[in-house]
Amino acid sequence: MNPRGHLLLLGLNHEQAPLEVRERFALSPDAVESLYAAAGRDPDVLGCIILNTCNRVEIYLYAHSSKPIDSLRREWLRQTATDAELLAPHEIRKEGETVLAHLMEVAGGLRSQVVGETEILGQVKQAYAAAVARESCGSELNFFFQKAFQAAKWVRTHTAVGEGQVSVATVAVDLAGKIFGRLNSASVLVLGAGEIGARTLKALKSRGVETFSVASRTLERAAGIARNYGGTVLPFENLATNLHFYDIVIASTAAAEPVISRDLLARTRRLRPHRPLFLIDLGIPRDIEPAASDLDEVYLYNLDDLAAIARENLTTREEEVSRSTKWVGNRAREVWERFHAVSPPPTHSPSLPLRREGPAGA
């Protein structure tokens, strides 16, 4: 038996579970709190970090025994009001070195739905930071997560896994660069107040976009996005008369019919000669008439187009995945052996080992 404890993983992710199963087991913020509280009540638990994203719910534990995993599983089922029979065929359970290798692969984007995407590293870091803030991380999990972040960095810098954009938002940003070069002078209009539109806007802003407006039939939501990202609100009814002021249009409304017609774009083009117009149609059904794509200097991309480019980039990435996975496996073994060779266990913990009766602040 391992004298220090057990590194355990219980979870559910896109690799084993389809969307309809994942959404049943998705954790609300309250449910996450309850799970942390349950882990805190268990005297066997030395550390707990819950990674809760749209594609995965993964509970990382470091415990004196493997028993806490069952109690946390029960709590998870209770919180999501689901059956054990539904979870059983899809759940993943790992222990020991394989957990570390899995964590490194997850952080490095090797196990993401879109392999190589970078958002997951930020999500793992957020989960880690949240656990640290709750003082539920523990020195052992802290050590393993730090090593996972280092492994993720190595994967990014030493392999081509991260080359070529592979998420809809970043592909759109990449395309904007091919059209406008530097994006500092490009103005953006976000049509609709959906999450994907906001995410694309965020990605564009990270690449230098300074001016943008939001137009939505729901004025409050438009104002919310404009406030969050520092833009202005364009009344939806002024869309037709103001469209020519914008270089990039991100459309993601819930409208049943296209809100931007080819005729409107043809008129808009005449008002902005020799200036390209980049249209990103993320709406389903589509918000921009597809026939507009034949207009000169108009570049129209819908969700499928962006996804297809992401897939192409992905194909080139996949060749790098096996190399990265092999390296991560070796690295996990080294770290695991080092962890067991070092006495006392690694410190530099930003948090105290989990030894509390309830969640942080409770």
Binding site: K178, F180, P273, P276, S293, D296, E297
Partner: protein, 290 residues
């Protein structure tokens, strides 16, 4: 006449070989989907240009003026202009792949004109006659042809990028092409620059044509006027928004081969200046002795 034991053609040949080297290097890097080293590219092209300039200088010394007397010399001068402009535009705008395309054009024009000896007709003392403005007119006009050569290159780059964006296909080495907006702005500036230079050259040509002391073949001026009208038309249509950016790029790309074809009439020699009229007969003067 030689310089360090090498003739003008040898210097030009070495310069062109370096353009080829730069082109092959850029091609290899592009095919491996890597960005090429700008420093190495610059070193190859700048050295090639130096040697090329030495060759043209030697030729100029031989012919006693700007070496623009036959098709070979004219093509070499256009090649030289393209490379000079590439170094200016490439440095100013940091346009990726411009070196790849420009060295490709320069390598083809340079080597093509070297390989056909018939293009390098026997040199002559001067093709311009005694009037220095004619030489200025020719040099400036052909430099503007170099501008149009580079414009054809950037137009091709624009069309490739436009094709990729419209077809939504970004595979392969052309994924490094610069942004379409940047290419259009460069196209516009090159078109304007070429047009201004050609206008000055044309004005000089017309002036010398009308001058009583210099006689230019009318076909030379006619050809230059045609080229000038073509590019002026493109510019005016663009300004009046009748020509879209991609149409402008197509026209600029297709016009350049016609410009190259128009080089032939430019190699026609200027007729010798007319002899001064004989002095009026003086009845008082004694008749020449038989």
């Amino acid at each position: 006449m030689t310089l360090f034991g090498l003739t003008d053609r040898s210097w030009i040949l070495i310069g062109v070989v370096l353009y080829w080297a730069a082109f092959f290097y850029a091609t290899a890097a592009t095919l491996r989907s890597r960005r090429h080293s700008h420093l190495l590219m610059l070193a190859l092209v700048a050295t090639g240009l130096g040697l090329h300039t030495a060759g043209l200088y030697l030729r100029g010394l031989q012919v006693g003026g700007c070496p623009l007397g036959n098709t070979f010399e004219i093509l070499q001068f256009i090649t030289w202009s393209c490379i000079v402009l590439y170094l200016v535009v490439g440095s100013a705008f940091r346009v990726s792949l411009l070196g790849f395309f420009t060295t490709g054009l320069a390598a083809l024009l340079g080597l093509g004109s070297l390989l056909v000896p018939a293009l390098d007709a026997a040199t002559r003392r001067s093709v311009f006659g005694p009037h220095p403005l004619v030489e200025f007119h020719a040099a400036l006009g052909l430099f503007s042809y170099g501008v149009f050569g580079l414009l054809a290159v950037t137009s091709l780059m624009y069309l490739l990028q436009n094709y990729s964006l419209k077809r939504k296909d970004f595979r392969g080495p052309l994924s490094f092409l610069p942004s379409i907006l940047q290419l259009d702005q460069i196209n516009h500036r090159l078109l304007l620059t070429g047009l201004v230079l050609l206008s000055i050259a044309l004005a000089t040509g017309v002036y010398t044509f009308l001058s009583e002391t210099v006689s230019l073949p009318a076909i030379k001026l006619f050809v230059i006027v045609l080229v000038w009208i073509a590019y002026l038309g493109v510019m005016l249509l663009r300004w009046s928004r009748l020509l879209h950016t991609s149409s402008t790029a197509w026209v600029c790309l297709l016009l350049f081969p016609l410009v190259l074809v128009s080089v032939w009439p430019l190699t026609l020699k200027s007729p010798p200046p007319e002899p001064p009229p004989p002095p009026a007969l003086n009845p008082a003067a004694p008749l020449p002795e038989r």
